[in-house]
Symmetry: C2
Subunit: 426 residues, 2 copies
């Protein structure tokens, strides 16, 4: 499918006006950055870069797209002519997927003609604003869960395709697996699942349901034990599967209290290795609150796919430099009240102290690499060719390292401020 119409109407009408007066071919630099992090978060997480490169590859105006634009008189014929030959031929630099960011971090830089670069604004922001919002929440949940695995299972709580992106993002941030099969198919995310109450209710008894599940999926399966009476269900499960029963899932009640009771019962029945998985509207705070309880894994749904209170990341795509009438690149910035922007193409570095801990986000126009810092942008697209693709596993490992590199305060769950300051050199 072409991604070209995942675009705001005004990008095309601006293009039309710019083509007509000749400025469309001016070289331009757009930057993606956030003026602030999601409220109370201490770091942002770059996510969506891989999806963005896919969307860029598929950004073509084919016959159907052009016919729609013509029939609805969105733009004039010269503009349609331009669009029919549209291929992004510029350069894109960006933070690597999984790395952290802070207010003002230039997480993506798009360089090309105004015409080719302005058209990408909407789809670039859609992808990054969604995926970065999910990532900011996912990363905190992974930290709250410590060594215990989390299954992502929020597909049913968000748009069906957003669900796939959320599953990908959760895995990138350290979730163990996802329930979403499309995320397995498209991105290789490991998929997993337990059983629903409907499966138990379908059978004439809970025992019949458990027997069917164990017969078909093996003793290592996870039984959902709260459809009727938890203690009875646990007894039945161990009776049928023996002490090799894989896990039981708790989806209601005071999870800590129920987990203690179920752990004691399982141990008494000799099922010492049977794990306890808890679900039911968990978020990073309730995960953390269960740290002391005998829980072996978490399933997280709604709060993951909705960014745990911050469903969008507030990233913007701003023109920061463009050629003037003499062909010289000039920094530009609007002066709108309360929405500060800084002109000029920026470079970014994470400054590390002697121990290797991040202590500042350096954003410079000069581009010179300050001592004791690592560069944050890499080349993603060169002359229209995608050069920054990578396996999702690479981004997952990077994220682990990027969070570990931040000062300890970054990992506090309580609301607070950015873990490191952004320092501009202007």
């Amino acid at each position: 499918m072409s991604s070209a119409l995942l675009t705001d109407h005004y990008e095309l009408t601006m293009l039309q006006a710019a083509l007509r007066d000749g400025v469309a071919s001016r070289r331009a630099t757009f930057e993606v950055f956030a003026r602030h992090l999601p409220e109370g978060r201490r770091y942002g997480v770059v996510a969506g870069t891989g999806r963005l490169l896919d969307a860029l590859r598929d950004f073509r105006f084919g016959e159907r797209e052009l016919a729609f634009l013509r029939e609805n008189r969105v733009v004039d014929e010269p503009t349609l002519e331009f669009l029919s030959g549209y291929r992004f031929s510029g350069d894109v630099y960006g933070y690597r997927e999984g790395d952290c960011y802070f207010p003002g971090s230039p997480i993506l830089t798009v360089e090309g003609t105004f015409a080719e670069a302005v058209l990408l604004e909407t789809v670039v922001l859609s992808i990054l604003n969604h995926d970065c919002a999910i990532a900011a929440a996912a990363s905190r949940m992974v930290h709250a869960a410590g060594p215990r695995p989390i299954i992502e299972m929020g597909s049913r709580r968000t748009h069906e395709m957003a669900a796939v992106a959320a599953a990908r993002t959760a895995y990138l941030c350290g979730f163990a697996s996802s329930s979403n099969l499309m995320a397995g198919h498209l991105y290789g995310v490991p998929t997993a699942g337990t059983a629903a109450h409907a499966f138990t209710l379908l059978h004439d008894s809970e025992k019949a349901a458990f027997r069917a599940q164990i017969d078909s999926l093996g003793a290592g399966t996870t039984l959902l034990v709260d459809t009727y009476d938890v203690a009875e269900a646990v007894r039945t499960g161990v009776e049928l599967a023996g002490p090799d029963l894989g896990a039981v899932r708790l989806d209601s009640g005071d999870l800590a209290e129920v987990a203690y009771a179920v752990r004691a019962q399982l141990d008494e029945l000799g099922a010492h290795k049977t794990r306890i998985i808890v679900t039911s509207d968990l978020d990073e705070y309730t995960i953390a609150a269960l740290a002391a309880a005998p829980v072996d894994g978490y399933g997280v749904g709604t709060s993951l796919v909705t960014g745990s209170g911050a469903p969008t990341a507030a990233l913007v795509y701003k023109l920061v430099a463009r050629q003037d009438e003499e062909g010289v690149m000039r920094p530009v910035a609007k002066r709108s009240v309360g929405k500060p922007s800084r002109g000029g193409r920026k470079h970014a570095f994470r400054r590390l102290d002697e121990s290797g801990t991040a202590d500042a986000e350096l954003v410079t126009v000069s581009g010179e690499r300050p001592a004791g810092s690592r560069p944050l942008q890499v080349e993603l697209v060169r002359g229209g060719e995608i050069v920054g693709g990578e396996p999702l596993e690479a981004a997952r490992e990077r994220h682990r390292l990027a969070v570990a590199e931040l000062p300890a305060t970054a990992r506090q769950l309580a609301r607070g401020y950015e873990a490191v300051p952004t320092v501009f050199d202007e």
Copy 2:
């Protein structure tokens, strides 16, 4: 694209276990309902039905889907065999798109074998939970705006495909148009747009930018006037376009204050018909707060696509009845703590008082139509065949009437309770 993998892993493993022990072919009834409305809302809005019927049509396990499931050992060969021939052959009833709902309203009823109906859970909930969440917010914004039109422009703040669904939903609820071109292409939503700050910044002067826009798009265009100095921009705009300038857009500052000043200035310049469009993180409350200001239209982005604080609708898909071993349909319900469900296939009616105002949501197992009520469910799918498709315009008109039918308290913006009670006959 097949929608079949927009599905949770466990739907397929439950299917496998049910196929193996023979209960997969039991007739089953699933219902979609909400235990509560989004916090503080007084009515819910059914949205997504049209998209759901599209997804049902495309729910097929083709070669690629089956190869993925086989390679990843999600299910066994007999289950793959079943899936390769999967066609939903059951019946679906539901509230009509655009109608209102309340806690417990059976907004969708899926009847078929357990096997065929359980597989639809994830994609049904993804679509309805997303679209109903957007609709609940959109409907309130439309009421807050009164006769003034609202442009939906939130695409960049949400997942790129969720954006298309949000645009469709906003239009269904009474928005005038959307910036999202794909929503125009797929659903016939009218598209519209103004211009971005980048267009002004691209030019060597604001005047050059305005001239280019007017030359290309006509005097009826909307100029964005807050890139530098609003008063100067307004003066320049009217100077170039004359009193026929279509509109100016304000995107920053205290919008009411700026709107008064701009209105006075436009009138002084003789541009009495030039409209004032305001944007900048508007939601239903800030729209209402601008009711007295000289504003002619609103653009709404972030708050629309994120459901204005409630990005998901809490709808669930529950087994409420199924055949027992003797083939008799039996109501079923789980007893999980704090998550009440009612067994049995429900019917629903909106009771109206003498004046035609809704005063109760009647949910009955008997199915008998109470006097002075209108039935809420219609047939959407009969024996696997889609019979409930309709133009988006029909749902848009229905929504207008459905909100008008509610008591006045339903339209209050302040947080509160359901506008009418749900009455069960059990």
